[in-house]
């Protein structure tokens, strides 16, 4: 799946969150979007699945502009794109098993027995095979995130948008999630868009990196090009400079 963003602008009240950003998420590649807190990274991801509509600009999914589509027209496109939310965003009224199987059951994609098998397989993959009956309120932040990732994977999406997938996870689990993202990308050629602050993940996974600053893309390139950047803002961010 090829996702392109052209001159995207979004304003909330007086706050211009995205100011004419243009990005290209190549099919089958892992693209990382870096940037400080509040630079519009999560807002950008929500535009890619049509949850938010831009003030101006276009979002092209396989060449089709989705920015002006109606809710019902967007549903089949959203089924092809998985979005992993920052905090997991599990449905608190459903248990873990129901959360993970939600998309499959709602769309009636498989018989119930098959749904249960897929759900258990994804939970096992995330190291949560014994947590199916737990309610989200009883899980830690990291567990919630892994359940959300399992839910995203059940739909076999053609593109996966990860919003801070490793935030709140310990280093070994972060490494496991990174390995999974890499494996997914290599095996299924899924298009991956990763929004993160985790520089280890970013440089370890990215085929291409964009840097967002005050709603604009101020740097773009491969990880090697980013390491040698002359842009002071990007350098300060990479080097965790408090003045950055």
């Amino acid at each position: 799946m090829h996702i392109q963003v052209q001159n995207l602008c979004k304003t909330f009240g007086a706050n211009r969150v995205l100011d004419g950003v243009t990005l290209d998420f190549a099919p089958g590649k892992i693209t990382v979007v870096l940037g400080g807190s509040g630079t519009g990274k999560s807002v950008l991801l929500k535009h890619l699945v049509g949850i938010l509509q831009p003030d101006s600009g276009t979002v092209l999914v396989d060449g089709r502009d989705i920015s002006q589509l109606k809710e019902r027209e967007l549903l089949p496109i959203r089924m092809r794109i998985g979005l992993l939310f920052q905090g997991g965003a599990l449905l608190n009224s459903l248990n873990v098993e129901q959360n993970v199987g939600l998309g499959l059951r709602e769309h009636g994609l498989y018989p119930e027995k098959e749904v249960r098998r897929i759900v258990q397989e994804k939970l096992t993959l995330m190291g949560l095979s014994d947590k199916g009956r737990e309610m989200p309120a009883n899980l830690s932040g990291g567990m919630r995130k892994r359940v959300a990732l399992a839910r995203t994977l059940t739909m076999n999406p053609e593109a996966i948008l990860y919003d801070e997938p490793t935030a709140g996870l310990d280093p070994p689990r972060s490494g496991r999630v990174d390995a999974l993202i890499r494996e997914m990308s290599e095996k299924t050629k899924v298009t991956s868009v990763l929004v993160t602050h985790d520089m280890v993940s970013a440089f370890g996974l990215a085929d291409y990196i964009y840097f967002l600053y005050r709603g604009k893309v101020i740097e773009a390139g491969t990880p090697d090009e980013f390491r040698q950047t002359k842009n002071e803002i990007v350098q300060r961010f990479i080097n965790r400079d408090p003045a950055g």
Binding site: I51, P76, R78, F85, A89, L90, L91, L102, E106, M155
Partner: protein, 258 residues
């Protein structure tokens, strides 16, 4: 000009929101097919609208019937018409007006407000966005089960509330107004016509639709965190109650079902 601007803004907002509520109603009808996947949650909401509201509806219905009997009975006593009129007055007023309206008020306060708070919290915690991202229509998933449960259970609860009111009226009539229960029930049932039952029942369906759609709309349009959830819940109760009373007047006055 300065005065005109806020008035214009108020009316613009009023018409815009009214239009959105009506649009949500039609979207809900269009999504009714999704009900087959949501029987479990529909049953849960049926319990909330019906079984869990039953004690409150009984208590309030019972006392409304008692107050109606007491108020009318005291006046009728002066005219010597207590035996003839107290039963029919309690019965007809409960069936046509008090039963449907009081039950709608109870349901709005007890179930409608909770519905708005629940959906509003789902909005601010991005749970509704999750539904969208999975290609699930939020109206089918969130609104349809609540709408269907309300359409089934509010009329049932109203019937129960009316019966509790009639019983409460009988308690006052027999113990305080010295009307025998046989005369009370005889006069009541012989005075009630089919149109009284139909008009009351028609109102309950309209009220059920108003409560479920308005409360879901307010929940879905929640913004700005916990404070926003509180504001939405307050709006849901205010708009629902206002709409119920306005609709009640127009149904009684113009549609000819009162």
């Amino acid at each position: 000009m300065l005065l005109f601007r806020p008035i214009h803004a108020l009316f613009y907002s009023l018409f815009l929101k009214s239009g959105q509520v009506v649009a949500l109603f039609f979207q809900t009808l269009a999504e009714l097919g999704s009900l087959s996947r949501h029987w479990a949650s529909t049953f849960k909401f049926m319990l909330q609208f019906g079984l869990y509201t039953l004690p409150l509806a009984t208590l309030i219905g019972f006392f409304v019937g008692m107050v109606t009997a007491l108020q009318t009975g005291m006046e009728l006593k002066k005219l010597g018409l207590t035996d003839l009129m107290v039963g029919p007055l309690v019965g007809i007023s409960l069936m046509r007006e008090m039963g449907p309206v009081i039950t709608a008020v109870i349901v709005t306060g007890r179930v409608g407000a909770a519905m708005t708070a629940e959906i509003g919290t789902m909005v601010v915690t991005e749970e509704v966005d999750v539904l969208r991202s999975l290609g699930i229509h939020p109206v089918g998933f969130l609104v349809v089960p609540r709408f269907f449960a309300a359409m089934l259970m509010v009329p049932a609860l109203t019937v129960y509330s009316i019966l509790a009111g009639i019983w409460g009226g009988a308690m006052v009539a027999t113990n305080y107004l010295n009307v025998s229960s046989a005369i009370y029930y005889d006069k009541l049932f012989s005075a009630i016509k089919r149109i009284d039952i139909e008009s009351g029942m028609c109102k309950t369906f309209v009220f059920a639709a108003i409560i479920s759609i308005v409360c879901c709309y307010c929940g879905l349009s929640t913004t700005r965190g916990a404070e926003g959830v509180g504001r939405s819940t307050m709006s849901a109760v205010v708009i629902s109650l206002s709409s119920i009373l306005i609709a009640d007047y127009f149904m009684t006055r113009f549609v000819g079902i009162g």
